[in-house]
Structures are given as structure tokens and as C-alpha cells.
């Protein structure tokens, strides 16, 4: 895990200069991008906003949105599981629509407003009502899958503020959890719905609206 957290580990390079074994791989952007050009890959500018903050980066065209969010934007709350669209851990909102960030090249999000799990909590760190409900329901165990479930749930409840259990299971069927058996996650969503219904809930009736930070001065 810790290797993957490093922004420019040899794993993330094209590998052409690590063949010697003792020679470390490219460790800075310039050499990484030079290796990409040598391999015939385009280098492009990508820009979009993430949680209300504008981001512009020079990256390989083949860089997925998930990798740019984690490596260039430094937002490692978006997790990468399967990297081919099955597990749902990397789900983010792209202009409000839940999307697999591992199944998009970053360039496809040009100009978009992206919301990641870091955008859920308040500026003072107060958990989003969905996060609080999930904690209260002990929704997750290891929580590797949590960012994806949270973003899928946010999109679900903005579409349908009072979904049936069947609708919850259907809408979250694109997210895999290997710990819980899903019951506690479904209960967490239902608890979030209940919080919204109850005016005495800490966050009030509009708590599940578009309260994630999707806009900001820089966007």
C-alpha cells in the first residue's frame, strides 16, 4: 500500500530506464514525461476543479482520472481497487454524475467539476451526514471501499431522497465490499435517509442536498 501512495514510484513510470536493475527509475516529472515521449506517448495539459479547487497538470495522455486525482492532486481519498471498472472504489462525481475515475482518461474530465470523498466533510472536518450515518451504522469494516460507496450514495440520495431498500441495493450494486456482506452499508444509507427526514437531526432537512463542496472561488 505505501508504495502506491508515493507520487512517483517506479511502478508509475514507463519503465524504460529501470531495465538496468541497479539504476533507479525516473524520480521527477521531467524525466518521467521524457520517457513517455520516447515511448510515443502524448503529454497534455489537463484542468478541472476538484472539490471546488482548480487543478491544472501536465501529464501523460494515458493518465487515468483516478491517477491524476491521487498523484497530481494529492487526494488519496479516492481509492483504486481493480482498475478496470468492476469494484467501484474509485467512484467520484464528475459534474454531479457518479463515474469510475479509473475508466476515464483525465483529459476526458477537462473543465469538469469533480467531487471526491474529501469534498464530503465540512471545512472544519465535520463529517457529511452520509459519513456520520455510515459511522453510526458501523457500515464499513476496513473501509477501503468506503469512498466509492459514499460517492455512489451521495448521487443516489440526490436523485431519490427516500429510496426503497431494493433501490439502495440496486444503485449500490456497482460497488464491491469484501468485509461486511453489505447489510450494514444498506443500513447506513437508510440511517442517512432517516436523518434527513428528522428535523431534529444535527444537520437539518437539507443536510443531504448538494452540501458536498462542488464549487469554489477558483473554479
Amino acid at each position: 500500500m505505501t508504495d502506491i501512495e508515493q507520487p512517483h514510484s517506479p511502478m508509475a513510470t514507463t519503465g524504460s530506464s529501470v531495465a538496468g536493475g541497479t539504476t533507479p527509475g525516473p524520480t521527477d516529472d521531467a524525466s518521467r514525461l521524457a520517457a513517455e515521449r520516447a515511448a510515443g506517448g502524448s503529454i497534455i495539459e489537463v484542468s478541472f476543479s476538484v472539490n471546488g479547487t482548480h487543478h491544472a497538470h501536465t501529464v501523460e495522455a494515458r493518465r487515468t482520472l483516478s491517477d491524476v486525482i491521487r498523484h497530481e492532486c494529492g487526494l488519496t481519498g479516492t481509492h483504486i481497487g481493480c482498475e478496470h471498472g468492476v469494484c467501484g472504489a474509485c467512484t467520484v462525481l464528475v459534474d454531479g454524475a457518479p463515474s469510475r475515475s479509473c475508466l476515464m482518461f483525465a483529459t476526458q474530465a477537462t473543465g469538469a467539476e469533480i467531487t471526491t470523498s474529501e469534498g464530503l466533510s465540512g471545512p472544519d472536518g465535520t463529517p457529511h451526514p452520509i459519513q456520520q450515518a455510515m459511522m453510526d451504522a458501523h457500515g464499513f469494516q476496513c473501509a477501503f471501499c468506503a469512498p466509492g460507496f459514499l460517492m455512489s450514495t451521495l448521487a443516489l440520495l440526490e436523485d431519490d431522497p427516500d429510496p426503497s431498500e431494493e433501490a439502495i441495493r440496486e444503485e449500490l450494486s456497482g460497488n464491491i465490499c469484501r468485509c461486511t456482506g453489505y447489510q450494514s452499508i444498506v443500513e447506513g444509507v437508510q440511517r442517512a435517509v432517516d436523518v434527513r427526514r428528522t428535523p431534529t437531526g444535527a444537520s437539518g432537512s437539507s443536510a443531504l442536498g448538494t452540501s458536498a463542496r462542488t464549487s469554489g472561488s477558483a473554479s
Binding site: R62, T64, G85, V94, S99, C102, F105, S152, S173, G174
Partner: protein
């Protein structure tokens, strides 16, 4: 698990995209929503030297209904129309109800947000839903190239093999036109998958036309049952002229199970899939023909 390097193109006009394809031909792939292409590249099953992204081209994301002429009522879906856009479209719901019926089976919300209807058809995965809808409805593919302009390809000619279509390497599938939905038609889509939203183990799109309780036309288009989406002509022929009875359903289902020879994979054997195809035929036709009053009604059927 990272896509290999490629030269990236993001043209603003269709003409530029077509010129790029004319120049780079077999070394290029068209990127629309990317929900099939990106994972294929991540798995290194595809290594195109050039990627032509059509996402910045205006005018490819419309859903249009022909209001007059021979095609009146036909629905044309542009190359950048996302699955979720189609799923939520009142136009699709009214004029192309079999697409609306099928959409909930297509992947998951987070994939439908980006993936395109036309891209799924061009990709031609044999276990995907939209190619079967194309076959069941007799849709027309509109391919565009710099050399020949627009070329129409019939559903029966389009799917040629596993992930293989009649599209040339210099062409973009710019739109697909679905014929007007007949007033006497009923449609049903059924599917079994390991997990709802995953690719089908086997699925079936049915379109039948009725005169009273007599079947006058039938299309049974299966997915996940061969190297392409596939119709079962023998079963359709047996169904046409039949009355809407449980016997007709049973006979048709038996023919389907006998005729199909689905490939085996880690998710299911040939024998299992043949059985499943028969079961799904029973379920779909029971609804489409309203044999069982307790079953959900088909879409578009006369009351």
C-alpha cells in the same frame, strides 16, 4: 494495469476526426465514453498508437425523432449520447421503449454516466445488451468516413464476430437509427448476471408483433450466448403464426435451448447457458404474450 502510451487527438470537428482516422487507420481507436476502451487498454488487450477522442465534437449527443417521411417515428441516437442520458430521456421512453426497457440492465450507474449507447454497439461485446436491441429492432448503423461520407449498415450485416463489426478503420459510427416502434408490438428484456449490472451470463431482447392474440412477427435476440449478439431464426419462425399460449412459449423455449450453442467460460458451461437461454425465453415470452396475468406487463403492448 495502466494503459500503454498513445498519441492523443481531441479534434473539435467531425471532419478533423475523420481525417485522423483516414491517416492512421488500423493504428487508431475512437474514444467516446471510454468504458470499454479504457479497461481494454489497461488490460493491454488493446494498444492503439493513436486515440481519437470525439468528446469535444459538438452535435454528437442528440436524440432525435423523425417527424415525417418513411422514417417517421424513428429514433436516431448520436455517438456521444451516454447510457444514463438515454435511460432518462422522455423521447426514448416514448418512441424507443425497448431501449428504455433494456437500460436498467446496462452496467451500473457510474458506468452509464460515461459510457455511450453507440459506443457499446460499435464495441460489439457479445454479452452486452445494446447489440441485441439493435438486432431485435432492426436498427440501422450510420457510419461516417472522410472517403465516403455517410454509409448505412443494416443490423443483420453489422455484427461479424467477437468484438468485430462491419465498421472500417477509417469510419466512425456517428449514429444509430432505431425504426419506429409499431403500435402492435410488445417488447421485453430479461437477463441473468452474476451481479446485477455485470455482463450477462445470458440475456434476451424480445420484440413481437401481434394481431389480436396471433403473433405476426417475432425477434428473439440473445446476448452472452454466442460470439456475437444472435437471433434464433428457427424459434422466431415457430412463434410466428402461433397464438399467445403457454404451449407456444414452451415450444419456442425448447427450440432456443436446442439451437443455441453458447461458449463456456469460468462463469458458466455451455450446458448451463443453453438451459438458461430456454428459461429466459419462457420468462420473456410469458410477459410479452401476456400468457400469465400475474406477470409484469411488457412494454408497448396493446391493452
Amino acid at each position: 494495469m495502466k494503459p500503454p502510451p498513445f498519441t492523443y487527438h481531441r479534434p473539435n470537428r467531425l471532419g478533423e476526426a475523420l481525417a485522423l482516422l483516414a491517416e492512421h487507420g488500423d493504428d487508431a481507436k475512437v474514444l467516446a465514453g471510454g468504458q470499454s476502451l479504457v479497461p481494454l487498454m489497461a488490460l493491454r488487450m488493446g494498444r492503439p498508437a493513436h486515440v481519437v477522442d470525439i468528446g469535444a465534437i459538438d452535435g454528437l449527443d442528440s436524440i432525435d425523432v423523425a417527424t415525417s417521411g418513411d422514417d417517421a417515428g424513428a429514433v436516431t441516437i448520436g455517438a456521444m449520447v451516454r447510457h444514463e442520458q438515454a435511460k432518462r430521456s422522455p423521447t426514448i421512453a416514448e418512441h424507443a421503449p425497448l431501449i428504455a426497457e433494456t437500460m436498467p440492465y446496462v452496467a451500473h450507474r457510474a458506468i452509464r454516466s460515461q459510457g455511450t449507447v453507440v459506443g457499446s454497439i460499435a464495441h460489439a461485446d457479445p454479452a452486452a445488451e445494446m447489440p441485441a436491441v439493435v438486432l431485435a429492432t432492426g436498427a440501422t448503423m450510420i457510419a461516417t468516413s472522410a472517403a465516403d461520407g455517410e454509409r448505412e449498415i443494416a443490423a443483420t450485416d453489422f455484427f461479424q464476430g467477437y468484438l468485430d463489426t462491419a465498421l472500417r478503420s477509417d469510419e466512425i459510427l456517428t449514429a444509430v437509427r432505431f425504426p419506429a416502434w409499431p403500435s402492435n408490438a410488445a417488447g421485453v428484456t430479461v437477463e441473468e448476471a452474476r451481479r446485477h449490472g455485470d455482463y450477462a451470463l445470458v440475456g434476451l431482447v424480445v420484440k413481437i408483433e401481434l394481431d389480436g392474440d396471433t403473433v405476426t412477427d417475432a425477434a428473439l435476440a440473445f446476448f452472452g450466448a454466442a460470439s456475437t449478439a444472435i437471433r434464433v431464426g428457427a424459434a422466431e419462425a415457430a412463434l410466428v403464426g402461433s397464438h399467445a399460449t403457454a404451449d407456444a412459449v414452451d415450444v419456442t423455449a425448447r427450440i432456443v435451448a436446442a439451437e443455441l450453442d453458447p461458449p463456456a467460460d469460468i462463469h458458466g458451461s455451455t450446458a448451463y447457458r443453453k438451459h438458461l437461454a430456454g428459461v429466459l425465453t419462457r420468462r420473456a415470452l410469458t410477459r410479452a404474450l401476456r400468457v400469465d396475468d400475474q406477470a409484469d406487463h411488457p412494454i408497448g403492448a396493446p391493452v
